[in-house]
């Protein structure tokens, strides 16, 4: 259906050359089955109105109808290992107080005193309490939410133990993290996560600990921040030379309603590269970070990807005391990124083992908060290190100050510079919406559609699209 050179067919959903799926099948070691699942989706080609990033009404509606209804990871189980440990998770006006109870079970409460509303614990705090005592008048609850002390009880004949226990909100543990939902009637997390319940059985997230935790203030709306990480289309221009051939072969999947994924390969030449590199050239590129004198030679007849995977496996095996040499090349090297709406990313790869979380600022539509975690395999011997202290980065602080990120720090900096420019452009553009690629940017469209569905379900219809 051509129209002035415009074609609204859904397109091929494939770049020229071998697909990522074909690349995985060509690896010597078969990857875990979830990586061989393909779920391309065409979700339409309408422009996404910039008002979803700039409208204050939209911003408030998101808090009212979306953030209040969706599952979000609040903390890692290791943040609250013992009875009395607590963690406060905040998003906009919403705040959850997550407590390890007397019996070791995890409770989540609305973080507000049942007397006059004072938050029982400060935003973002992580600590310990014998009981949950309000700092204002001393009303006190047990770790399980029972009202155990009310000073001058004679003045409150209208307060009952049942009417004034701390209201609970849904809480569940999945993939080593504690998840909460501010909706008391939320569907169970186990169904909300969809395919992740099966896919993640292959990846062992619960056997990992947090090695590095960075929290960065970003100069853009939370959706723009997330969208910067949902596609690898920007890699050629933002992270490489901009020349054809410097893209990465990527597969994009959507698993409705809440999950999307990309996988992009590492240490393979792009099929689009006009003059393919030799395996030696690709191998040399992977060894950039290794001192010249200790760079190994590529074994005869071996692909760079396979040799590099072996090196990474041996290095990680010696560092963490597990045998990783049986892992597939893909799980060892590739950028495998699962997204769970609205704001969680999980990377199961061995050498790219990140977890992300993005949250809007409570007040500023153009500011968001990015939690960037590096997870590592629990050591085979000895104690699991406790969660590290958070490295807080302001808008203009470079990620490179966080040594735990290694060379990734520079890559994240390159992403940040786009965010400011895009945020200004939302308001300076003559065209009033963004145009998305049907395949490579489908995950951004999926995010936008899920937000819109929640807002419409809540009765918000100001969205012009």
């Amino acid at each position: 259906m051509a129209d002035g050179g415009v074609n609204h067919e859904k397109g091929s959903a494939r770049a020229p050359g071998p697909t990522l799926h074909e690349q995985l099948l060509a690896d010597p070691t078969r990857p875990p089955w979830p990586l061989l699942v393909e779920a391309p989706a065409y979700l339409g080609d309408d422009d996404i109105s910039y008002s979803v990033y700039t409208s204050e009404e939209h911003f408030r509606a998101e808090f009212d109808h979306m953030w209040s209804k969706t599952w979000q990871w609040a903390c890692h189980v290791e943040h609250i290992p013992e009875t009395g440990d607590y963690y406060v998770y905040d998003v906009g006006p919403h705040s959850a107080l997550i407590v390890r109870g007397e019996d070791g079970a995890i409770n989540a409460f609305y973080n507000a005193c049942m007397h006059r509303g004072t938050q029982l614990r400060p935003p973002g705090s992580c600590g310990f309490a014998n009981q949950l005592k309000c700092p204002f008048h001393g009303w006190t609850w047990s770790l399980d939410g029972e009202l155990v002390d009310l000073p001058d009880r004679w003045d409150f004949p209208h307060v009952g133990d049942d009417t004034h226990r701390l209201p609970r909100l849904p809480v569940a543990v999945f993939s080593g993290f504690v998840w909460i939902n501010f909706d008391p009637d939320a569907e169970p997390l186990s169904s909300y996560v969809g395919v992740l319940a099966d896919h993640f059985t292959e990846f062992g997230f619960e056997d990992r600990y947090i090695e590095t935790h960075v929290r960065k203030k970003l100069p853009c709306n939370w959706k723009a921040a997330i969208e910067a990480f949902l596609e690898a289309y920007h890699v050629r221009e933002t992270h490489a030379s901009g020349q054809l051939g410097d893209e990465v072969t990527t597969q994009y999947d959507v698993f409705p309603p809440n999950v999307s994924r990309f996988i992009h390969t590492i240490a393979l030449d792009s099929p689009q590269r006009p003059a393919p590199r030799t395996e030696e050239e690709i191998f040399a590129n992977m060894l950039r970070g290794v001192p010249v004198e200790s760079r190994p030679k590529l074994p005869d007849g071996m692909r760079a990807r396979d040799a590099w995977a072996k090196i990474v496996q041996r290095d990680m095996s010696s560092r963490y005391g597990h045998d990783f040499t049986h892992l597939s090349e893909s799980i060892t090297l590739d950028s495998i990124e699962y997204f769970l709406f609205p704001n969680a990313f999980f990377f199961p790869g061995l050498s790219l083992p990140m977890v992300y979380r993005f949250r809007p600022d409570a007040d500023d539509i153009d500011v968001s908060w990015f939690d960037l975690l590096i997870l590592r395999p629990r050591p085979a011997h000895g104690e699991v290190p406790p969660p590290p202290e958070v490295i807080e980065l302001d808008v203009d602080d470079s990620y490179t100050v966080a040594s735990g990120l290694g060379p990734l720090g520079r890559v994240y900096d390159q992403d940040t510079s786009n965010m400011k420019a895009q945020t200004r452009g939302f308001r300076s553009s003559r065209k009033k919406g963004q145009t998305l690629g049907n395949y490579q940017e489908v995950r951004a469209r999926h995010l936008q559609q899920r937000v819109r569905e929640h807002l419409r379900a809540g009765g918000f219809t100001a969205d012009p699209t």
Partner: protein, 105 residues
């Protein structure tokens, strides 16, 4: 400036703390971070409460009453409801004995 001897603290492991209730007005808590001893008065700056009954993790002590938090190395408060630091004291180890200064830092 008086040094008070606390005895042999080589068995006080990283991430653990011990309270010496008869040192100073409130008692003194000694803890170890990355091999280094740190000491602070056993009294929350927010309301009088014993920090030694709270929990010590990493570099942070959390008051068990209202959740005020402090950096055990510097005494600085890390979150509400505290608005001021706690008192920290110089502590040193010498010849297998630990000593804490009884004057405030």
């Amino acid at each position: 400036m008086n040094d008070v001897e606390l005895g042999d603290l080589t068995d006080l492991r990283d991430g653990t703390m011990r309270v010496f209730a008869d040192v100073g007005e409130h008692g003194v808590v000694v803890c170890r971070v990355n091999g280094q001893l740190h000491a602070f008065d056993d009294n929350c700056s927010h309301r009088d409460a014993r920090l030694s009954e709270g929990r010590f993790r990493g570099t942070t002590i959390t008051c068990p009453v209202h959740g005020a938090q402090f950096d055990v190395r510097t005494g600085e408060h890390r979150c509400a409801p505290a608005t001021s630091p706690i008192v920290v004291r110089v502590v040193r180890e010498s010849g297998g004995r630990a000593f804490v200064e009884s004057t405030e830092v």
